[in-house]
């Protein structure tokens, strides 16, 4: 089953930085972007505009999640996914500009698989992405996600 990446990010600059970074790294997995919590959950559950027909695209194999979203809170998405018996197997990487240790702690409590701080400099964004890709896409073995019930 091919990997796919969901990026939940309301900021165009940040999304574009990630997308460019991934391209530069040669990552060719399909990337989907959601800009608010509701849209993200619809996508994950395959409902609303993201309704899936059988055999169509399955939920993503990995999620990059911004905590502060214009529409809703990234933590809400995190909590919902990690409470779902089926979806909680999907690794979620929190990708946040927050310097607040409290946000870090909350994220892990809610079940984030890692917490990465957004960096200011574009070149640092690329470095961070490279390390993430090396681990999550090349090193780690991700769980298969067969037969989504949604």
């Amino acid at each position: 089953m091919p990997h796919s990446i969901l990026i939940i990010e309301d900021q165009d600059a940040d999304f574009e930085a990630i997308e460019r970074g991934l391209r530069r790294l040669g990552v060719e997995y399909p990337v989907t972007r959601c800009t608010d919590a509701e849209d993200a959950l619809d996508y994950l559950y395959g409902r609303g505009v993201h309704r899936r027909n059988p055999g169509e695209q399955q939920p993503p194999t990995i999620v990059l999640l911004d905590l502060k979203l214009d529409g809703g809170d990234g933590r809400e998405v995190l909590a919902r996914v990690k409470q779902d018996d089926y979806l909680k197997a999907i690794p979620i990487i929190v990708w946040s500009g927050s310097n607040d240790p409290h946000d870090v702690e909350i994220s892990y409590r809610l079940g984030a698989n890692s917490f990465v701080r957004k960096t200011f400099d574009f070149s640092e964004v690329n470095e961070t992405l490279e390390r993430l890709a090396r681990f999550w896409l090349e090193t780690a073995v991700l769980p298969p996600i067969p037969n989504a019930p949604y």
Partner: protein, 748 residues
């Protein structure tokens, strides 16, 4: 001296062990059972008007012995005209107001004085003077004196007028105005002598000269007269009044017989006849107008009536003059107070303000020195006891308890150690401002070595209850350890000042509370700002930065070299602004941190700081010098870490030498500066700071070397300064441009 009127008649029969004052207080001088023999007295039962008691001299004066009189109806003694007058008088509620009534017995003319007391009608019969009494003449003379009295400019002049008036009205050889002090000692303030007799002006008479029950009697009746001290009392028959079953109460009888001890006292003073007029102020005995004559002297009723009236008018005048004096002083105090309070209420610091206006503070209380003690911190102004004595005095005052104002003109009597500084401060007025906190204002008055001229030695007179003293020669006593007394106005001023200062403290507290609320609000605003700065502003900045990078990647060819330079500038500016925001957030975070002092090992803190800076140290190839191990110090280790981290980071950053070093050390406090604690130093051989920039070095976000965009934000030193000052310490910098800088700080 006439003033001491009645002494204890029975004192010899009272056991010596019983306290004298108690004996005096219980001495029934109002029921002597006898009268002075120049007149006759009848006690009459109403309404029957039966004579129930008569003085034994009735036989001599009226030609009727008590035995003949007792049981008779009063009217049986009178002719119809007299009877009608008496009947008229008895119709009145107070027959005394109708006195005197002319009555004749066996061709002798008498003035009959009637009064009711204790349910008994008392009829006193005094032989009438020859000729008609001219009340009008006396009253005209009185009018003149009253006018003179009202125009007296000073108190001594006033007392002189009073003495002269009574002298001229009565013809006594010595007339004195005598005033009681709070302890009932008396002093002669004014005098008129019309013969070659000793002057008593300025003499003091001990309180025991006029015992308490005599003073009580004086406060009830306006005038007493003893026409001769050499009389044989005429007793009343029977001894007990049949109506009351008690001896007849002669409190208001003109003829009342006085104590033989008092007569002896007068004789010792070579006084043959005396009279005294009470002076009452606000219902209390203020003093007396006392009159002496060497020989026998009787005054007709009309003159005595004029004297009584004069006594009442004089009393009113004294009340008015005292009130005037009080108001004058009050006005003066008010002026000083207003100025004082005005100054204080505008001041930020209560102690500072009290001190700044110390001259008014002293003037306020007419004191030579003052101490302002707020929460154990004492400031001394003017002439005061030594500081350690003031501290001891404060402790003593604290232990004394709750009374808010304490005043004494002889502190050493209350607190023995005060004898050690009696010259500077024999008088103390203390105001406790706060009930909770040890806030005091103390005023001191210096010793006034006073010489008191006693008429005879007062201490002998104290046991002289057995024998009235014989010597009235001046006995001088030098009183030490005494200041000028604090008067009522001073005490009132003290209470008012206390009230005002209290209000001020409360107002200040309220303002502080208000400011605190305001501060909390501003702090919370600052917090939100810091939050916005570190989160919301960073996001668009990051966006600007990212897009400038995307521009560069996607449109390098179109932009050209010049375009690319501008895009890079945008990126750099955004990046720099981002650094500023981070620094601002950090500064605000440090400022909001609670200061928790504990014994901390600065060496260990420095180790940790250097470990965190290891990369920068390595990269800059800077040598770290630690010539002296840092000591233990009571401080907040988390915040102090910020001091070292920022100073060392700066020292590394601002260094352009090929061989770089940073030295962290400390020195012992300068002599006399021990309470400041050790001085810590962070030195470098870096670029240094221009002398004109030294002052600005610690200002928030002031960058002194802005030749690059990566030159730091300038928040570091502001953080350092804030942390140092929150510890109570100081920070300063010594620097030579191009050679290096040394930052020095203390933590206490």
């Amino acid at each position: 001296m006439d003033l001491p009127d009645e002494r204890d008649q029975r004192v010899n029969s009272v056991p010596i062990s019983e306290p004298g004052l108690d004996v005096c207080a219980r001495e029934p001088i109002h029921i002597p059972g006898a009268i002075q023999p120049h007149g006759a007295l009848l006690a009459v039962r109403e309404p029957e008007l039966t004579i129930s008691q008569a003085s034994v001299n009735c036989g001599t004066l009226l030609g009727l012995n008590p035995a003949d009189l007792l049981g008779l109806n009063l009217y049986d003694l009178l002719d119809p005209e007299e009877k009608a007058k008496i009947a008229d008088a008895l119709e009145q509620k107070n027959p005394a107001q109708e006195s005197p009534l002319p009555i004749s017995f066996n061709g002798r003319r008498f003035d009959a004085l009637l009064h009711r007391h204790d349910g008994v009608l008392i009829v006193e019969l005094e032989p009438a003077p020859p000729g008609a009494e001219n009340f009008a003449r006396h009253h005209r003379r009185l009018q003149g004196f009253i006018e003179e009295m009202q125009h007296a400019a000073t108190l001594p002049a006033f007392y002189a007028v009073v003495a002269r008036a009574v002298s001229q009205l009565t013809g006594y050889e010595r007339v004195m105005v005598y005033k009681f002090d709070p302890d009932w000692n008396g002093e002669v303030l004014g005098e008129m002598l019309s013969a070659d007799v000793d002057s008593y002006v300025g003499l003091h008479f001990p309180a025991s000269d006029i015992p308490a029950q005599a003073r009580a009697l004086y406060a009830r009746s306006w005038l007493r007269i003893i026409p001769t001290v050499d009389y044989t009392p005429a007793v009343l028959e029977p001894a007990l009044n049949p109506q009351t079953g008690r001896p007849l109460d002669l409190s208001y009888a003109v003829l009342r017989s006085v104590s033989p001890i008092h007569l002896e006292y007068l004789r010792n003073m070579e006084v043959g006849a005396s009279m005294s007029i009470s002076l009452l102020v606000e219902g209390k005995l203020w003093g007396l107008i006392a009159c002496h004559h060497r020989t026998e002297r009787q005054l007709p009723f009309a003159v005595r009536a004029a004297c009584e009236l004069f006594g009442q008018i004089t009393s009113r005048e004294i009340t008015a003059k005292q009130e005037e004096e009080r108001l004058g002083k009050q006005a003066e105090i008010n002026t000083i107070q207003t100025r004082f309070f005005d100054a204080i209420s505008r001041a930020e610091n209560l102690a500072e303000a009290l001190l700044r206006y110390a001259p008014s503070l002293l003037e306020f209380m007419n004191a030579a020195g003052a101490a302002i003690c707020l929460g154990g911190q004492c400031s001394l102004v003017g002439q005061t006891p030594p500081r350690d004595h003031v501290s001891a005095l404060l402790n003593w005052l604290q232990e004394r308890g709750e009374e808010p104002v304490f005043a004494t003109d002889s502190l050493s009597l209350h607190w023995a150690p005060a004898a050690g500084f009696k010259e500077a401060a024999s008088g103390l007025l203390s105001v406790k401002i706060s009930r909770v906190e040890p806030h005091f204002v103390l005023w001191f008055r210096p010793e006034v070595p006073a010489t008191v001229n006693w008429a005879g030695e007062p201490k002998k007179s104290a046991d002289g209850r057995l024998h009235p003293r014989k010597s009235f020669a001046i006995w001088q006593e030098t009183v030490t350890g005494r200041s000028l007394p604090w008067d009522e106005g001073d005490l009132r001023g003290a209470h008012e000042l206390r009230g005002a200062l209290n209000a001020l403290v409360i107002r200040r507290t309220e303002r502080l509370l208000h400011l605190n609320t305001e501060l909390e609000r501003k702090n919370s605003d600052l917090n939100s700002f810091a939050y916005i700065a570190s989160h919301d502003l960073k996001e668009p900045l990051r966006g600007i930065h990212h897009f400038s990078r995307f521009l560069r990647e996607d449109h390098a060819v179109e932009l050209g070299a010049e375009g690319l330079r501008k895009v890079d500038t945008i990126a750099a500016l955004a990046s720099n602004t981002n650094d500023l925001l981070i620094a601002l957030a950090h500064f605000s975070e440090i400022g909001r941190m609670e200061l928790t002092l504990r014994e901390s090992d600065l060496r260990q803190i420095l180790d940790e700081v250097l470990a965190s800076l290891a990369a920068a140290v390595h990269e800059s190839a800077v040598e770290i010098r630690r010539p002296r191990t840092l000591p233990l110090e009571r401080c907040d280790p988390v915040l102090v870490r910020e001091i070292f981290a920022n100073l060392i980071a700066n020292a590394i950053k601002y260094n352009d030498k090929p061989v770089k070093w940073v030295e962290i050390s400390w020195r012992d406090p300068e002599p006399g500066q021990e309470e400041r604690g050790p001085v810590f130093t962070v030195s470098d051989n870096g670029i240094g700071i221009r002398e004109r920039n030294l002052d600005a070095a610690f200002q928030m976000f002031r960058r002194l070397n802005k030749h690059t965009f990566s030159g730091g934000t300038g928040a570091g030193l502001a953080i350092v300064k804030s942390v140092v000052e929150r510890h109570g310490g100081h920070i300063w910098v010594e620097s030579v441009l191009g050679e290096g800088s040394t930052f020095l700080f203390t933590l206490r």
